[in-house]
Symmetry: C2
Subunit: 492 residues, 2 copies
């Protein structure tokens, strides 16, 4: 594993491949073994790494052992440990052995399945696994390839990409009617809880920022968007000569895990002829359990729905499922047929060419990863995984409720608990500041990492459960940490 | 490695992680060992896989051994083997051990470095490695973070993403002057050899298709775009009230490896105030060798430049470097500052938050992969890698030239040779058809895979060298295969 020389340079030498790969496996296994030792949120200062690494690349090969030492010494302290059992921030990115194996196969085969012929198995496995996943979530047949109604699914890297692509399809359908000038009249509808990725995507595809609506939600309605609110906004826009284009509903919003009423919104979207997209990036995974599936009721009215197995379904980064009822609208907007990629199967129109379902030409073989996760674990284990996370969240919720200084701020639906110190223990206007201090005290301790949201004007702490290694003992320890930091803060 | 049960489900169990990961390493090592046995271009028929796999997901866990057997039996036959030494199609996606190790670390840590605090090392290593790469390519200091002029680089997944982001930055800069209505007047300039990804990106960001220029190139000028051609087009557009926005030059075009004259085009872009982007996806890697660096002369005039280490610099998929002189224009267009991601370091504006340099929020830790490739191999080996591929291409070119039935159709600059049967052996109008037959005969044999281009109206065969395992003996064998298939075809 020493230095390599140009005169005999063989970067896929089988022996070295095996030797060094096995060494990395051991390194990663050790990392997981030791992960609780590390501060969850990195404690380095901005610019720390440039003080440690040379500012120019090495001319000569360095041994893998040296590099791994440097990773231990210089990189790991700068990581915020998303796989730590005490990571409760954002939404989790839950890794698993099967997800990791799938990434290895993806990277090892290193095929680029932009069209069918460039690796038929990459395309066909993706279509099959998208149907599997659709069946697991009980999506209607109109979203299955095998449903015979023209629908189907594709793997993207992120929700933003899924939203960009569906927005472009919706936009181009509208512009075929309005002419290209119409682009300045198109309006996108979301709630004030919708992920900002939809706003960013709208901006990317050329919708004026002034035509982006973030409609109000409220605590009494659990931060769900109402159809009436959307209708009023659409009517007002149409009265101004604007054209409603796209409505995004969310199942499991980022801030508080809210669920928009899909059925009502879907009916409204149909009435106004707008594209109806459902972003279930986080909570969509829970639909594989019958007891959570009802949150997706109304999905049959959607034009498209996306969810991210890389959040809560044990699939390592990155993996975003997008299903669409009428993929030909995607293809109309995103297809390219350059001579250089022409081939018999594509010309005969008997295959899917996924390059026409996404932004980029190149694409990784993500399907094998999702396929491995589903096969290795099976639906029963995946359901157990979701249920045990929700059970832990319920348990945490119980702990919060039992301490009279605290409250759960928003009704919990999945594995996210939004909580904080109660206003009554301090003047109301100080509560947000106290919760901010509490959160910073927890995170600075290095023993857990959470993030926050501001809802209804209040700063709340988000406790998002879902990291693969999190067990009850971690939740209990973290709750004790929270209580103790709260005591410190309330006593100062 | 058997079936897993829900009552004791532990998907990151350290022992099982090690055991199964080592098994996959051995599986991939065997795959590389046996890779020459497989037909390079998959020989399956459309729909083959749905006949072999169940149409519903398994309820219960399956052993990894069973899954690996199925991969051998069902998936591998459907792969087109991009890592085969006899893969000469498209441009290569060259894997390496270091690239694979980097992907393992990326996937093992599984951090999501959308902003600095979410994993400081992910952000800082990316900035450092982008500076390293910029120095390797001798990009001017205006593109380095350490250059003190505000420039810097980011890792994207694909050229298309890099082009979308720079186009959006250019568009929004122009629209601040023109108003949003101006979007229908903006014009993008490319040559008829430019990768179609630029056309797709332009469409995505809302440029009317009618405002996309694919300007003519020609054989006598080696398919390079001339500044005069662009000037004429811009003047004509401006006379119509249109507004030149973006000019994309290419170093190493996809069809024939052409190089546009960067200096002349850059001067013109400056004169007309348009964004000047350089796409060096494939050939940019060669700039690490002094003898190829001159193709990038004029890069100092560019606003942005992209290149893909996942093509020719031993970095497994995916990895696209984008450097930009004025990243604040990217950030102006792509930044989002939702409350939920607010943190001290970002608020103090002392760190890079890469989410504002790209389309998506989520991002993989690609930097550790590129860093590992550069450190493990060192610049000297990477230069040798480029040089040996170019030497093989020269060797192949020599073989073609020695057989009087064949000709090299376009002057070779890098490791791509465009060749075909000479017209004089048949009536001119039949040559394209013969070359098409020849290519299909080669690919159907399963012993090599090449793709084609049509230039100057002629069908030519592209022989793209760069797959990691390709050695002189493979090129020699493949040439014999080509000769023999040509003999068959010319004798029928």
């Amino acid at each position: 594993m020493g230095s390599l020389q140009p005169e005999n340079f063989s970067p896929l030498d089988a022996n070295l491949f095996s030797e060094e790969s096995h060494a990395i496996i051991d390194f990663i296994a050790d990392y997981y073994h030791d992960i609780e030792q590390y501060p969850v949120r990195s404690q380095v200062e901005p610019g720390y790494l440039s003080k440690r690494l040379p500012d120019s690349p090495p001319i000569f090969s360095e041994p893998i052992a040296t590099i791994l030492e440097d990773i231990k010494k210089d990189i790991i302290p700068g990581l915020t440990h998303w796989q730590s059992p005490n990571f409760y921030a954002y939404f989790q990115a839950n890794a698993s052995t099967a997800g990791f194996l799938g990434e290895m196969l993806c990277s090892g085969f290193n095929v680029v399945g932009f069209n069918w012929i460039a690796s038929p198995a990459a395309t066909e496995l993706e279509s099959i696994v998208m149907d599997w996943m659709a069946k697991m979530m009980k999506l209607p047949a109109s979203f299955h390839f095998s449903g015979g109604q023209g629908g189907g699914g594709v793997l993207h890297g992120s929700t933003c990409e899924a939203v960009v692509c569906t927005l472009v399809a919706a936009r181009d359908r509208a512009l075929r009617r309005l002419g290209h000038d119409g682009i300045t009249r198109l309006v996108v509808y979301t709630s004030d809880q919708t992920h900002f990725t939809v706003k960013k995507a709208s901006k990317i595809i050329g919708i004026p920022t002034s035509n982006f609506r973030e409609l109000p939600t409220s605590w009494p309605l659990d931060y769900a968007l109402t159809a009436d609110t959307v209708r009023t906004a659409m009517e007002a826009d149409m009265a101004q000569g604007l054209v409603p284009l796209y409505l995004c509903a969310t199942v499991g919003t980022t801030a508080v895990g809210a669920v928009d009423p899909l059925f009502e919104l879907g009916q409204l979207a149909a009435e106004y002829g707008v594209w109806f997209h459902i972003d279930s990036a986080y909570a969509g995974s829970s639909a594989i359990c019958p007891e959570f599936r009802h949150y997706l009721d109304g999905v049959e009215l959607a034009d498209s729905i996306s969810m991210n197995p890389h959040k809560w379904l044990l699939t390592n980064m990155d993996c975003c499922c997008l299903w669409i009822k009428n993929p030909s609208l995607l293809v109309d907007s995103l297809s390219t047929n350059p001579e250089i990629l022409r081939n018999e199967a594509s010309d005969a129109n008997v295959v899917v060419d996924y390059k026409d379902w996404q932004i980029a030409l190149s694409r990784r073989f993500r399907a094998i990863k999702l396929w491995l996760v589903i096969r290795r674990y099976g639906v029963a284990n995946l359901m157990e995984h979701i249920r045990s996370d929700v059970a832990l969240a319920k348990h945490f919720e119980g702990l919060v409720t039992m301490d009279e200084r605290f409250e759960v701020v928003v009704r919990r639906k999945f594995s996210l608990v939004c909580f904080g110190l109660k206003p009554k223990f301090e003047a109301c206007d100080r509560t947000s500041e106290l919760n901010r201090q509490l959160l910073e005290a927890i995170n600075t301790s290095g023993r857990a990492f959470m993030t926050h949201a501001v809802v209804n004007g209040d700063f709340v702490i988000r406790f998002a459960i879902g990291t693969t290694l999190t067990e009850k003992r971690h939740v209990d320890q973290t709750w004790k940490l929270i209580q103790s930091k709260a005591t410190d803060i309330l006593n100062t």
